[in-house]
Symmetry: C5
Subunit: 321 residues, 5 copies
């Protein structure tokens, strides 16, 4: 489905155009077309392949989907795959954006992602000075937008960890915490799969030898790179903390076990010691002077109570109860 299709020249939008008009516009050397597709059908992609002369392997990748993030050069043009990560309730959904960039066209294909790039296009159209850089700048704007959208995801996961940490240290080493930590690790892996492959790929767009399209935009792509490095470092730290949290949690569970064992042992003592005393006075010896004493019974009960009180105080002091 075509979301948007417009032609630009010297940084300014010429017009919203139809697919049929594209060849006319890209025959003008200073003009480029920016077209956005959403979950396109095979036929739509094949049409694009014809119009812009896209490379067979790139189109195949775009059709199959489920690519890893990458930036590939096919001659003068670039093929970029980005992951779009969105929350659907509590779950992360991984969509995909493929971007084909040539000197005179930008074709973005969005798959399984709710949020589009209308606002990116609007901002670009408000900055004709930058749009003058051509399709390379559009590529930058799209990549910058996708990468910026990773940050709120990361923040949500960070908040998630903090919540789990609080629960763990608040003496609640429940199954739920462990499951949450495991789930968090998986989500961080999803995010890492989106950012890490891109880091190495994007270094080819600044410094050293750079594709023609990006030559004047190196500072901009370095900025995206910088955001990716920051994301990646935070993801790694979070993952590391999750692993630490799991092992810390295990220690806390073991401490809890010790506490339970101590408490149970203490209560057992409070019950079994008087049981022993009762057992002694339940013996059937004929010659047990205490049994005949009128105070025998109350004294026995008092003895039991006193011993239990003494034990209770000692256990309390020792922190067993």
């Amino acid at each position: 489905m075509i979301i948007n299709c417009a032609a630009y020249e010297n940084g300014h939008k010429l017009a919203d155009i139809s697919v049929e008009e594209i060849p006319a516009y890209i025959s003008r050397p200073a003009c480029f077309v920016w077209i956005a597709l959403k979950d396109p059908e095979t036929s739509e992609l094949e049409k694009m392949q014809q119009v812009f002369g896209l490379h067979e392997l790139a189109v195949e990748d775009a059709q199959h989907g489920h690519q890893r993030p990458k930036i590939e050069e096919y001659g003068e043009s670039l093929f970029v795959v980005l992951h779009m990560i969105e929350f659907a309730g509590d779950e992360l959904v991984v969509g995909e954006t493929e971007i084909f960039v040539g000197k005179q066209y930008v074709l973005s294909v969005r798959r399984q992602a709710q949020r589009g790039f209308v606002e990116v296009r609007q901002r670009c159209e408000r900055e004709p000075d930058l749009m003058k850089h051509g399709t390379g700048y559009v590529l930058y704007a799209l990549m910058d937008a996708v990468v910026d959208r990773y940050f709120p995801i990361l923040d949500a996961l960070e908040t998630n960890l903090e919540r789990i940490e609080e629960q763990i240290f608040a003496n609640q080493s429940s199954r739920a915490n462990i499951e949450d930590l495991y789930e968090l690790k998986r989500k961080l892996t999803v995010l890492k799969h989106a950012t890490e492959p891109l880091i190495e790929a994007i270094t080819r767009l600044f410094g050293g030898r750079v594709p023609q399209l990006c030559v004047s935009l190196q500072d901009y792509f370095r900025d995206v790179y910088d955001h990716l490095i920051r994301l990646n470092q935070s993801i790694d730290s979070l993952r590391d903390m999750v692993v630490t949290a799991i092992s810390v949690n295990l220690s806390l569970i073991s401490i809890q076990e010790n506490e339970i064992t101590k408490r149970l042992g203490s209560y057992a003592a409070l019950i079994t010691v008087p049981t022993l005393i009762a057992g002694i006075y339940g013996m059937n010896f004929h010659n047990m002077p205490e049994l005949d004493s009128p105070l025998g019974y109350p004294l026995a009960l008092i003895t039991m109570a006193v011993i239990d009180l003494y034990l209770f105080i000692r256990f309390r002091k020792a922190g067993w109860l």
Copy 2:
């Protein structure tokens, strides 16, 4: 055993030929021979060595089998070793494919693998435009097929992990889960041994200096490389999650232990407290007024029941029962 042997020219199949006809065909400069062997005997390989002039060390490797995946250049020709991984019931079986590629021949040797490359050959023969690239394209087609066959294996292992995860978090921390996790890790290692060595090797077939055979096919080999990187990244993530799952499982076992201890302690209290009361009234003191009361016995029983009920409710509330 020879599975298939055919001669190709300008992207088209000339004929199925016999081994004896090979020299005649490869005397024609634009012609190449594609021959497929399965579990060949030493003599068959030696004959091939003679016919195509294969390098002694490569033939030795192919005879011994049990090589790691690799791509080696011997002069103008290439020697490629790939692992073929197949499920046999629940187990992974590692077969091997060795491919000798020269300007005028492709020799594939398959060992201990059920599934062959007939479909690859058929697809190649349907695409004469691509077959025109010569033996390099056949090599690509074979490698692409082998690498594509790793994906369903990986998917199966991923499903496997999900199943184990479900069981773990469904409170079933059984021995079987742990054994399954260990087994899964071993299978991932098998898959990793197939993909990882290939990644570094295949980079020599695109970018930088490239063997003559692959010069015009760099985009294609980069595509295979890309699949390998994706596989490898997924394998690494899965391995990481398996390790996390093992440690998470340990935490859950420890939590279970705490729960068992609490429950046992609770039940012990429900039994030992009335035992103490019974013990007290089993004492033989002469002066125990309760014993003479006609309501003594039922009151004692009721006391026991009330205390147990109270304890039971408290344990329930505390989540110990």
Copy 3:
């Protein structure tokens, strides 16, 4: 808020100047301006951008804050981001310093950090020989100051670990220790985020190709690099020891559990064995000669005491009590 603004020439301070005077001073080729801002408003930064011709992306970064430490070249000028780490009570607070350096200006922007650079300025002004190197030297002095301030933080965390270690090995495997270890690991991560990105960045200021501003100061920047490497190595070792401490702690908790179990078992034996004896003499057989003996009762008590004494001594010897 402008903290300080002065002009320098030939290593000597000319005068404290106002923002309006800056253009006049930087029109003198040998002169440079060093201006320090604290938590500036957008308008202040925009004014600076106009006066010094700062790059848009750098200014944007400085406005947003929350950058990772980095050193970026924009043409002839440098943009440096440093983390300022300070203790606020027990917590680490991460502030930020952005430094814009051109041939004729140094602009430092401090954010959320208590401690400024007045002393750095004073020391620089006392060393005109070194100030002759120009703005590059001021950059060095600022970076050196920031990096040197990491050391006391690291020392505090090291002392922290030693304190926790002592508590752990002093048989106090409490929840608090585990929480402290976790917290320590997080603080080390904060410190690592400040130092690690800087290491790679600063290598571009010495050795190989170096920005014009730093050419004569390579030995100085190598010195800062050296401090960073030392910091980073210490942080890594500390992090490693924290992880080891967590697992060592778990072992100690488990040993403690064994000790508790042994102790509880021993005490249980001391109670249940006499209970058994009492039970035996509580049986109602008619023919129990001991019951009729006048010494039966005291002998039974003595037997209980002797057995308990024997058990107690054995448990003591076995280290169970």
Copy 4:
């Protein structure tokens, strides 16, 4: 002790010679001497140093022994250190082979290793075509032999792990298993110390700039490299599985603990519940109608039995017994 000393020319053995004859033979340009020493005394090594002009540092290393595997160039000649690993009963013994190679000599020094290189020499002498390559080929043959001898060691350790795995999963989490896993890890470390340093060293014998002696033998040294990589990868996987096996074992021990606790708890219930009933009917209340009933006693016993039977069946169903 000199084991063997012979002169070779054009790939053929000339004669077994004495040390005194060496100078005469190496004065013939196409001739080289291959001499094998075993646990030589200092004086023997010094003589060799004189005869062949060996570098002082290399001889020092050979005298001291306990070197790590390495390949060093001293001018035109090579000094190679290899580890010889042999089983002595259940233990691994690390011997050493130092090889000095010049254009006209190969000197191998074997230390603390049972198995020598007679078979290597014999095979070399059967292949004059390859021996024509000169001393470089002898070096290859020796290295290839040493590296090939690592494989049976690795296989033995792999079998070892499989045996331990079987025992672990067969519910036998004994101390012996853990000790075996630890011992296995140590042996793998020994093997790793033999292979890993060699990998980096041997890359200097093929590809890129290569010592004169090895120029025509690059494919051969790459083959040794390939074996080393395979060894190293298998060692790493084994080490990884050992670590996983240790943690899996811990989980199984904890599960076992849960099972023991459950079983003990169940049996305790089977004993303490009838004890409570017995306690109740041991109370001395005057008004306990059951006591007077002639069926009281058997009914009490039957009640105990029925309750225990019920409990037993429930515990069985719950898998506690």
Copy 5:
């Protein structure tokens, strides 16, 4: 404090000289001065700075101490920092040696280290052939001596690990073992801090571009490098084994726990079962035929004994006792 100061020419010692004489000697082009300081005061270092023209930053580092090992070039001269590690009782003490090397001087500054370099000087003076290489050789001799002194430290730590291993597997999973393992890991970290930074640094003294002073001594510095690599590899393996030992120890503690639980459970059964029997015969039913039988009491006792014997044998067989 000046320990030693002598002038050398053509490999031979000229004379022990005073600081005042240094300028005269270093005015002779072929002559160099070797001076050794121990814990010098600031004034002494400043004098040296004047005499030899040392770089300010290097002197600052030498004054502050607590540097990491490094090799820095200041123009034609070198500044080397080495860690001196010595045992003080059971603890490791880290001293430091800074070496300033120029074409005509070697200045070594030793701090907090007991053992000096007198023997190094003596050996150098006995080898005039090597001393002819000039100050570079003295640097080599000093570095070689420092690195060689790490080996006995490493051996001691290796012996330490072996002792702990023995204790662990000899069923003594005590707190002391865990504390020792932790302490060992810390000591290995200290040693690693001494060797690891040096490895990268020393590669600049051989191969590739090399400082003028070391040009003819590359084989020697490669030898030191080789020792460092060996040390580092052993340290890494030891550290890895310590981590494994900690986790193995945890498994053994858990096994011990299982054994304790089993033993306690067995003993509990031996006590509670006869208690139940006693309880039954302590019931007050009027109609209990056994009570009236003259053999009732001894039979009850025998029953208890027989059941306990039976249980004891079963527990023994099951390995619970």
